[in-house]
Structures are given as structure tokens and as C-alpha cells.
């Protein structure tokens, strides 16, 4: 009698255990990850060159996300606010550089001042000045937003500031959509320099036009990819220098660590917060121009999706951590591109976000995130 009744409680305890440890969900996610890995391994074996090409595509995308993600992560690190208006500051950056180039011919100013210089110097200096203009305008805009919309809510519940951020985001989008501000239409972004494409094939590096080989036999990259990667790295190093080596950076870290104590030590906390917003926004402004160069059709809503993805990248890397934002963004770029290439292109975002969920289940604080510490 006793032996027949014994299995019933045992089987229910297995179910209970399965529910308690969330085996079902984990098994589902792990199987998705395994399927994705399997598809990628097959792809590498089938055509390694094509796979490398897709990786190169993903790197370009990843670096643009990295620049946006840094703004999210810096602001979050210091005021624990997810600044949803950040993606729209990025959009403003793209439009400012568009107007700088098409309306004011800002990328050619050096040629007007000193006509004798070679063209690449003129355009190089000109393009950098357009980026700097976009960065300055975005920094100023973000400073104003912080002063008007976020500072009065510093001591309000965190959800109020979050809702305000969403409000600012919508305001910027639809304000930009007005006919007399920017435009409600899609407009074509004029690149300040011509596109040059190279191919690494069996004959070494050649421009695509010279190369006799078919495009599928080599890895193709363009000057746009190089410019995005190089300028992103320069900006990242600059940021790392500012945060780690300067007085302002030290103050930022102190404010991030403990606001009241930092104030007691004589740090102008509000000023530092404004500076943080401005620095993050200037990176978004630069990202806006780089993004518009790579994907030359701009519209008032262009910041929403890259903004969300960069936010995800920041969370993935560990929000609040600067190297984390870079690594997270590169992972996002690869995940998106490889899933578009090898699994299903309309499902690229679904897969990219599934990876986010998996990482957060394993490490809730993100890859580089530190475990949350006690805060006052």
C-alpha cells in the first residue's frame, strides 16, 4: 500500500522544483541560444568569407550604438535616470549636421578661407567642424532639457523623472516634425565626402571598382565604416580620459558614488550633473551625424529605434559602466546583423532582444555591471 502511494508526492515535488527553478523558461531560452549558435556554425563552415563580411557589417552598426549607449550609461550612472530623450538628441544631431552641410556649406568653409589647400584637407577639417557643431548644439540642448525638465524633479520619485523623460522625448520628436522647425518628411542626407569602397581579396586590398573579382570573393569595407569606427574610438578614448584623469571626471565619479557626501566635499553636484548630460548628448550628436552618413535618409522619428537599441546595449553591458556600454553595443550590432543574415531579417530585433533577456537572466546587472550597492 505504502509503495503505491509513494510516487505521487515525489512526482509533484519534481514539478514544484521545475516551477521554482524556472526550468521551462531557461530550457526555452537555452534552446533558442543553441539553435542560433548552430545556425552560425553552419554558416561559418559554408562560407567563411560571407560570415566575416557580416561581422564587419555588424561592427559598423555596433560602434554607432556605442556612442549613443554611452550617453545613457553616463546619465544613469550619475542620476539613476533613464534619459529617454537621448535618442531624440541623437536625431537633432543628425539634422544639425544636415543643415550645416546643405544650407551653410559648413564642410567647405576652409576652402573659402584658404582656397589653395588640397581637397581632402578641406573636407576633412570641414567634416570635423560639422561634427563639432552638432556636438555643441546637442550638448547645449541637453543642458537646457536637464535644467528645465529634470532638475526640478531631482528629489521627486524616480518614476516621475522617467515619465518626464518620455514626455521630453515626444516633445522633441513632434517639435522637430513641425514644418518650420525641421520637417515632417524623410530627407536625404548629403554626405560631405564621396564614398570609397575597398575589398580585401586574394589580390590584397583594392578599390571595388578596380577589383576584377566578384564581390562575394572578398571582404568589402568602405571609408564610411572606417570613419565611424575610428571616430568612435577617438571619442571613447577622449571620454575615458575625461572621466578618469581630469578634475571634472573625478567629480563625476564622486557624485555617482555618493551625492550628499560629494556635496559636503565641496563639489557642485548640480553643475556636474549638467556637465554629464552635456557630454553624453555631445556623443549622441556625433553619433547622429555618423549614423546619417552611413544611413543617409533622416526623419524626425529616426532616433527612437537606435535609441532603444543603444539603451538595451547599455543595460546589456551593465548600465553605469562605460566599457560595458561599448561591449554591449558591439554585441548588439553583431547579434542584430548575424540574426538578420542567418536566421531571419524581420526577426532581427526579436533575436537581439532575446539575447538581452538571456544575458540578464544569467547576470541581472549586465556584463560589466557591479552589484547594486547600498545608496543613501
Amino acid at each position: 500500500m505504502a509503495t503505491t502511494t509513494a510516487p505521487v508526492p515525489r512526482s509533484s515535488s519534481i514539478f514544484e522544483l521545475a516551477i521554482k527553478k524556472r526550468w521551462l523558461g531557461k530550457a526555452f531560452l537555452i534552446s533558442i541560444a543553441l539553435i542560433a549558435l548552430w545556425r552560425i556554425i553552419i554558416a561559418i563552415q559554408a562560407n567563411p568569407i560571407l560570415f566575416l563580411q557580416q561581422v564587419v557589417n555588424g561592427i559598423q552598426l555596433g560602434f554607432v550604438y556605442a556612442l549613443i549607449a554611452l550617453g545613457y550609461t553616463m546619465v544613469y550612472g550619475i542620476v539613476r535616470l533613464i534619459n529617454f530623450a537621448h535618442g531624440d538628441v541623437f536625431m537633432v544631431g543628425a539634422f544639425i549636421s544636415f543643415f550645416g552641410i546643405t544650407r551653410f556649406q559648413l564642410h567647405l568653409w576652409l576652402g573659402n578661407v584658404a582656397p589653395g589647400l588640397p581637397l581632402w584637407v578641406t573636407i576633412g577639417v570641414g567634416s570635423v567642424s560639422v561634427v563639432v557643431l552638432a556636438m555643441i548644439v546637442c550638448a547645449w540642448l541637453s543642458y537646457v532639457i536637464e535644467r528645465i525638465a529634470y532638475k526640478p524633479l531631482r528629489n521627486a520619485p524616480r518614476i516621475s523623472a522617467l515619465i518626464t523623460a518620455i514626455g521630453v522625448s515626444f516633445f522633441l520628436e513632434y517639435f522637430a516634425a513641425l514644418q518650420f522647425v525641421f520637417t515632417p518628411n524623410f530627407i536625404t542626407f548629403k554626405r560631405p565626402f564621396p564614398v570609397q569602397t575597398w575589398m580585401i581579396g586574394s589580390n590584397g586590398i583594392q578599390t571595388l571598382a578596380e577589383s576584377q573579382e566578384s564581390a562575394s570573393n572578398g571582404i568589402i569595407f568602405s571609408n564610411i565604416a572606417l570613419i565611424i569606427i575610428i571616430s568612435s574610438i577617438i571619442l571613447l578614448l577622449l571620454l575615458q580620459y575625461v572621466v578618469q584623469k581630469t578634475r571634472i571626471g573625478k567629480a563625476m565619479r564622486a557624485v555617482a558614488y555618493d551625492k550628499p557626501t560629494a556635496r559636503l566635499m565641496g563639489i557642485n553636484v548640480d553643475g556636474i550633473i549638467s556637465v554629464t548630460f552635456a557630454i553624453g548628448a555631445s556623443l549622441a550628436g556625433a553619433a547622429g551625424m555618423l549614423y546619417a552618413i552611413a544611413y543617409p535618409s533622416i526623419v524626425f522619428g529616426m532616433g527612437i529605434i537606435p535609441g532603444l537599441k543603444a539603451f538595451v546595449a547599455a543595460v546589456l553591458g551593465g548600465i553605469g559602466s562605460i566599457p560595458g556600454a561599448l561591449i554591449g553595443a558591439l554585441i548588439m550590432g553583431q547579434a542584430e546583423n548575424l540574426s538578420a543574415a542567418y536566421i531571419s531579417s524581420p526577426m532581427r530585433d526579436a533575436i537581439a532582444f532575446t539575447i538581452l533577456i538571456i544575458v540578464l537572466l544569467v547576470r541581472p546587472t549586465g556584463i560589466f555591471g557591479e552589484p547594486s550597492r547600498e545608496k543613501a
Binding site: I187, V195, I220, N337, S345
Partner: protein, 379 residues
């Protein structure tokens, strides 16, 4: 006060008099045609072009002595590209002005409600530009006997471009389209069917979503496939994104698309070398096209766009059908229109069983930063 009463009395008498003059079945007096167009609302420029095109057609007929020896009187109403104003305008022209013929509307969202009124009341309606299949076909799949359109419906352009691609000697094609939008999907499906039926091969098919900006993963596959044709039947903003990225990835396929490319904001450098279909081209050398462009430009000071052209064709076909029927009776005119064969500006038109026109489409090429007419392709 007295003057006003007098005037209103006079107006009343006048209205009654004209009402009496037009006793049912009378074969004298003008034939009334209503033009319903969105003169205000979201797309007033569409309405203006449509009105101008239709009015010019009617003016030309009147100059020739009208139709059936009677002059044509036009009633223009603003239907605002939207259901409610369109219904009001349709009720007004049918019940109050007693028209038997309607040219309009531009937008499918307004044409469908108008057709729901015109069809049961036995009023012939011809929409110049509404592409939704439900304008001429009821939800039960039967054709509305009194409702016609002058433009081809969207998937037809896929068929035309497939035929054009095959004529150019292309053997393989790669399809790229937005899954979530009926317009590109309809074109892509029609292209795929016609292209494979004609002996071509579809070497790849990729979909994306409307918010995508990075197409590098898809375009790397296109380059890998070495397809002759990249069929991208989307709007100009997507073409502006895909074009430069395709060139960066070493895609050598010829890009092709539909009338979504037709925009002043199309990036000519991005679309360089590509082909797209459209309703008509002002560069077409047929005399009827050149006369139309000349007359329209002389009257309105601008080159006629596709909307004006289709409105002109719609009004012309309607009047030709009245002439063919030989009597001002919508029941006979609708049969005459259904079997009409008409040489219109946008091509030689006949109607299929669903009252959609069967006609040639213009194929245009983006070349040296300009859009040029290449060929007129009949289905």
C-alpha cells in the same frame, strides 16, 4: 428685407423652373458630371491636379460640341480624402444635383464610401487614382456594376516590371520588401509570379520592417547571389537608404521598383541606373501625350502629374462611354464603359471583369541624375 425676400423668391422660382425643365427622360439640357476631389484636407495638391485634369477633358469635349449634342455641366465638390465629407458630397450631387456620373475620388478611403452610395443608386463612378481593390469589387468578391477606375492596381506594376526585366535579358532576381505593408508585398508577389512564369529565377527573397535603416546583412546576401535584378518595390525613403548601402557592398544588380519611387525627394545618386514603373511619363513621344502636356501646361502653367493625367483619362473615358451608349442613361453607359476600348494618355485602356483597367505602364530610368522615359510596357 424686402429685397432679400424678393431675391429668395426669384431663386426659388428659378430652381423650380430648372427642376421642371429637367423632367425625367428629357434628352435636352446639359449632361451633368460631378467631380469629387480632395480640395482641402490632407492632400489638397492631389485634389487640385485631379480637378484640373478632369475639367480640361470636359472643356475639350464642350469645345467639340459636347456629348450627344448636349453640353456638359460640371459640379465640383470637395470630398477631403476622407469618408464623411465624401459621403456628404456624394449624397449632395446625386440627390440634389441629380448627376448620373461621378469622376472621383482620389483616395481609396473616400472612393469606397462613395461607391457604396453611387452603385445602389445607379450612378456611374470612375475613380482616377484609387488603387484599393475594394473600390470596384465588393467585400463579397463581386464587381460593383457601376464603379470603375482609371489607374492600374498596385500588383499590376510587379507584373509590368517582371516583363520589362525579362525583356532586358535579365535571368535572376532578388526580392527585397517590407513585409508589413500591402503595397510592396503586393508588387513583390506579382513580380515573383510573373518573373518565374516568364522563365526567370528568383535567387533570393528577404523581408525587412519599415523602421529598418541598416540593410547591410541583406545586401551582402544580394551581392553574394550575383542577381541580375534587385527588385525593391518600396517608397523613395527606403530606396534612399538601400541605394547607397548597395553600392558600398558591391551590389551590381540593377535596381527596379514601382511608382513609390516617384518623388521629388528621391535621391537620384542612390537610385542611379535603376528602373521604376509609373502611370505615365510626360516624355512619352506618342502624340496624344505630347498634346496633353502642351494643353495642360498652356492652361495651368505646370507639367501635368500622374493625378491630373489619370483624371483627364477618367473623364474622357466616361464621356466616350456616354457617346458610345448614345443615351444619357447610366444603366446603358456602364455597359458601354465596361466594353470600352479607349486610347488614353496613360495608354490604351480596356476594363477587365473587375473594372480595373488593362493598359500599358511607363517604365522610367534614373540616369545621370534625371528620370527619363524608357519604354511603355503592355501587360
Amino acid at each position: 428685407m424686402k429685397v432679400r425676400t424678393l431675391i429668395s423668391l426669384l431663386v426659388l422660382v428659378a430652381v423650380l423652373a430648372t427642376g421642371c425643365a429637367r423632367t425625367p427622360g428629357a434628352d435636352t439640357g446639359p449632361i451633368k458630371v460631378a467631380i469629387l476631389a480632395p480640395l482641402s484636407g490632407a492632400v489638397p495638391t492631389f485634389g487640385e491636379s485631379t480637378k484640373n485634369g478632369a475639367l480640361l477633358a470636359i472643356e475639350e469635349w464642350n469645345a467639340k460640341g459636347g456629348v450627344l449634342g448636349r453640353t456638359i455641366e460640371t459640379i465640383v465638390e470637395d470630398s477631403q480624402c476622407s469618408a464623411d465629407p465624401a459621403v456628404n458630397a456624394a449624397n449632395k450631387v446625386i440627390d440634389q444635383d441629380k448627376v448620373h456620373y461621378i469622376v472621383g475620388e482620389v483616395c481609396s478611403g473616400a472612393s469606397i464610401p462613395i461607391s457604396e452610395i453611387a452603385n445602389p443608386k445607379g450612378v456611374v463612378q470612375i475613380s482616377p487614382t484609387s488603387t484599393n481593390p475594394l473600390v470596384t469589387v465588393g467585400s463579397d468578391g463581386t464587381t460593383k456594376p457601376y464603379i470603375f477606375r482609371a489607374c492600374f492596381i498596385d500588383p499590376f506594376q510587379g507584373l509590368v516590371m517582371a516583363k520589362f526585366a525579362l525583356q532586358q535579358g535579365h535571368k535572376t532576381a532578388f526580392l527585397m520588401y517590407d513585409q508589413g505593408n500591402d503595397y510592396p508585398r503586393g508588387l513583390a508577389e506579382a513580380f515573383e509570379k510573373s518573373f518565374t512564369d516568364g522563365g526567370g529565377t528568383i535567387v533570393g527573397k528577404e523581408t525587412y520592417v519599415a523602421t529598418d535603416t541598416d540593410f547591410s546583412a541583406i545586401l551582402t546576401k544580394v551581392a553574394e547571389s550575383n542577381a541580375d535584378v534587385l527588385f525593391l518595390p518600396d517608397y523613395y525613403n527606403i530606396v534612399n537608404l538601400v541605394g547607397p548601402q548597395a553600392k558600398e557592398r558591391g551590389v551590381t544588380s540593377v535596381m527596379m521598383g514601382g511608382d513609390g519611387w516617384d518623388s521629388a525627394d528621391l535621391d537620384m545618386a542612390a537610385a542611379e541606373g535603376g528602373y521604376f514603373s509609373n502611370h505615365y511619363s510626360p516624355e512619352d513621344s506618342r502624340p496624344i501625350v505630347q498634346d496633353w502636356v502642351k494643353n495642360y501646361t498652356a492652361k495651368y502653367g505646370a507639367t501635368p502629374d500622374a493625378l491630373a493625367t489619370l483624371a483627364y483619362d477618367a473623364a474622357n473615358m466616361l464621356l466616350a462611354a456616354i457617346e458610345k451608349a448614345g443615351v444619357d442613361d447610366p444603366a446603358k453607359v456602364k455597359d458601354a464603359l465596361a466594353s470600352l476600348e479607349y486610347e488614353a494618355v496613360s495608354g490604351k485602356i480596356t476594363f477587365d471583369q473587375f473594372h480595373n483597367p488593362v493598359k500599358a505602364a511607363a517604365v522610367l530610368q534614373v540616369k545621370d541624375g534625371k528620370v527619363t522615359f524608357v519604354a511603355s510596357i503592355a501587360p
